[in-house]
């Protein structure tokens, strides 16, 4: 009797505590979406608003008037999309070679990749800029942003781990049947690791979509800027339009929140296997 009472109290306590934390965590996202639909005088009240307003399109028009945000979203889609697809291809080819073949230099190459994982990307931004912008002349060019993203050690590491679990008998059998190595990779190995590709793909897409410093350095003209850069430029203006800015933040965030709702499992798998293996 007493025991069940304390266990019920414990249950209540745990649920109440978690509810408070979750609410605090959701408030910024909620306020972003709800403020996007209200005029600035509601925003200036600084109150927790529950009902959506009717000013979303008005705020969007203000946003679009200050920065070409539709174009920025388009640029972000192109950059994140191509970086992800090409990044997956490059990383899975390299990961496959490291996992499946014994060859001279394999161990030192793998050690090098582990070492690179430990070098912060901020450290190479200056020379990268000089090479890509000054020497290759790729400023305001999609390739200028995308190409350096492809040298992603995390991806190679992640794909190598996935290919290590492949049943080597299946691959050997295909080889003995006369299939080419490329065909074995493309039509047997890749389909088996599809879940890993999905996890890595989502993580790469989100990371490239969200990146700020690198696209800011390469895409200096408004026509080529990505969504985060457009937001950053809005905040630098003397007269900040808060409603418009919340529209911008929502447009670049809400699709990912929905994606996260649907693909939570893959995203979490990507983070934990990338981090713990």
């Amino acid at each position: 009797m007493n025991n069940s009472l304390t266990s019920r109290a414990k249950k209540l306590f745990i649920n109440a505590l978690m509810l408070v934390i979750s609410c605090m965590w959701l408030i910024p996202i909620w306020m972003m979406m709800i403020y996007a639909t209200h005029p600035d005088n509601v925003i200036f009240s600084g109150e927790l608003v529950f009902n959506p307003g009717t000013d979303f399109f008005k705020n969007f028009a203000i946003l679009q008037g200050k920065q070409d945000f539709s174009m920025a979203i388009f640029n972000s889609v192109i950059i994140a999309g191509f970086s992800t697809l090409l990044g997956l291809l490059v990383a899975s080819m390299a990961g496959y070679a490291l996992a499946r073949f014994a060859f001279r230099g394999r161990n030192s190459l793998f050690a090098l990749i582990i070492f690179i994982l430990a070098v912060p990307s901020a450290a190479i931004v200056i020379p990268e800029y000089i090479i890509v912008v000054k020497h290759m002349g790729l400023s305001n060019n999609y390739a200028g942003v995308i190409l350096p993203y492809l040298a992603n050690a995390v991806g190679v590491f992640f794909m190598r781990q996935s290919f290590l679990n492949l049943p080597s008998e299946t691959l050997e059998a295909a080889y003995l049947d006369g299939a080419s190595e490329w065909k074995i990779f493309y039509s047997i190995a890749l389909p088996i690791v599809r879940p890993a590709l999905a996890s890595l793909g989502i993580i790469l897409f989100v990371a490239h979509w969200n990146d700020y410093l690198w696209p800011m350095l390469v895409m200096t003209s408004e026509q080529y800027q990505t969504a985060p850069i457009a937001l950053g430029r809005l905040i630098g203006l003397a007269n900040i339009e808060w409603g418009a800015m919340m529209v911008g933040a929502s447009l670049m965030t809400v699709p990912f929140l929905l994606l996260f709702l649907i693909l939570q499992k893959q995203i979490i798998a990507g983070i934990t296997s990338g981090a713990t293996k």
């Binding site: 249950k11 745990i14 649920n15 978690m18 934390i21 979750s22 965590w25 910024p28 306020m31 972003m32 925003i43 600084g46 109150e47 291809l89 490059v90 990383a91 080819m93 390299a94 070679a97 499946r100 073949f101 690179i116 430990a118 912060p120 990307s121 901020a122 450290a123 190479i124 931004v125 200056i126 020379p127 990268e128 800029y129 000089i130 090479i131 492809l150 040298a151 190595e181 990779f185 969200n210 700020y212 410093l213 969504a227 985060p228 937001l231 905040i235 808060w242 919340m246 933040a249 965030t253 929140l257 994606l259 996260f260 939570q264 995203i267 979490i268 983070i271 934990t272 981090a275 713990t276």
Partner: protein
């Protein structure tokens, strides 16, 4: 069984090319630049110019101090919160787990620029929601962007909101790897939940927490976007981080050599701190 000996290299070649051009060359180039005077018309080797300047540049030391203050305040608090959240999320007594998981984990897909903008609004000194709520419980408005302690706290709060879920995911995976029978056995021996937490959970979580500690320290050492968009490094340079200082040296003063030296300082500090953390907290769990 003969296979073409070039096959592995063919598969590796795209990565090796991008890796060489966009990683290896830059990092070596940067190292060389750090020993050059890059502000003369033709770049010249000047061995101690930049590295010597590191030691006596007060603005750099201020930026280092700011960065380490944020790390010291934010990382331990966030990791404790992440462990706490992971334990709650793992509890069999918790209802609506999916909803709570979404609330804590969702920030990992929110762009730095997006949440910086939101936090800048919610924590606005004059009309922000947070100061409004504080007024309800009779706390005076906090100068989140106009005082150095407020600005530092604001960045720490923002980072905690954004990254607690990420760390909680790693810790939750660690929790789920702890064998359940350890708890059952200790329960039979009459251990209290607190004893179970300190004697079983924490020691077995140590590798996961250590990983989070290293990743968070490394990440915060490179902090750039949040202070740029939330506080613009202010007030009075009190939230200018080392990465922001490197950026301003490299891309505002166009002093690539000195910027490269600062970049190498960041790498050096990051690796040293990680090694130190592995030394201090590594080792085998006690059990």
């Amino acid at each position: 069984m003969l296979r073409n000996r070039y096959t592995p290299y063919a598969f590796l070649s795209p990565y090796i090319i991008v890796f060489s051009v966009f990683w290896l060359v830059p990092i070596l180039f940067s190292f060389a630049m750090s020993f050059m005077n890059t502000r003369s018309r033709t770049w010249q080797f000047d061995f101690f110019l930049n590295w010597g300047r590191l030691l006596e540049d007060e603005l750099l030391w201020q930026a280092l101090k700011n960065t380490f203050l944020i790390i010291a305040l934010q990382v331990p608090a966030m990791l404790m919160l992440a462990v706490f959240a992971a334990v709650l999320l793992n509890s069999k007594d918790l209802n609506f787990k999916g909803l709570h998981r979404f609330a804590i984990f969702a920030p990992i897909v929110v762009a730095e620029a997006a949440y910086a903008v939101i936090f800048r609004l919610l924590f606005n000194d004059n009309f922000g929601f947070v100061n409004n709520m504080l007024a309800l419980i009779n706390i005076d408005a906090i100068a989140w962007t106009n005082s150095s302690s407020g600005a530092t706290a604001l960045i720490a709060i923002g980072l905690t909101w954004r990254w607690t879920g990420y760390n909680a995911i790693i810790i939750l995976a660690g929790l789920q790897n702890i064998p359940k029978d350890l708890y059952e056995a200790s329960e039979l021996e009459g251990a209290s939940p607190w004893q179970q937490f300190t004697k079983i959970t924490l020691p077995l979580l140590k590798p996961a927490i250590l990983l989070c500690l290293v990743l968070s320290t490394f990440g915060t050492l490179q902090l750039f976007t949040e202070p740029t968009l939330l506080t613009e490094g202010g007030p009075g340079g009190s939230t200018t981080t080392v990465a922001m200082y490197m950026y301003s040296q490299g891309f505002k003063s166009f002093n690539f050599g000195y910027g490269s030296a600062i970049a190498y300082l960041i790498v050096f500090l990051g690796l040293t701190l990680s090694l130190l953390q592995f030394k201090l907290f590594g080792g085998k769990p006690d059990e």
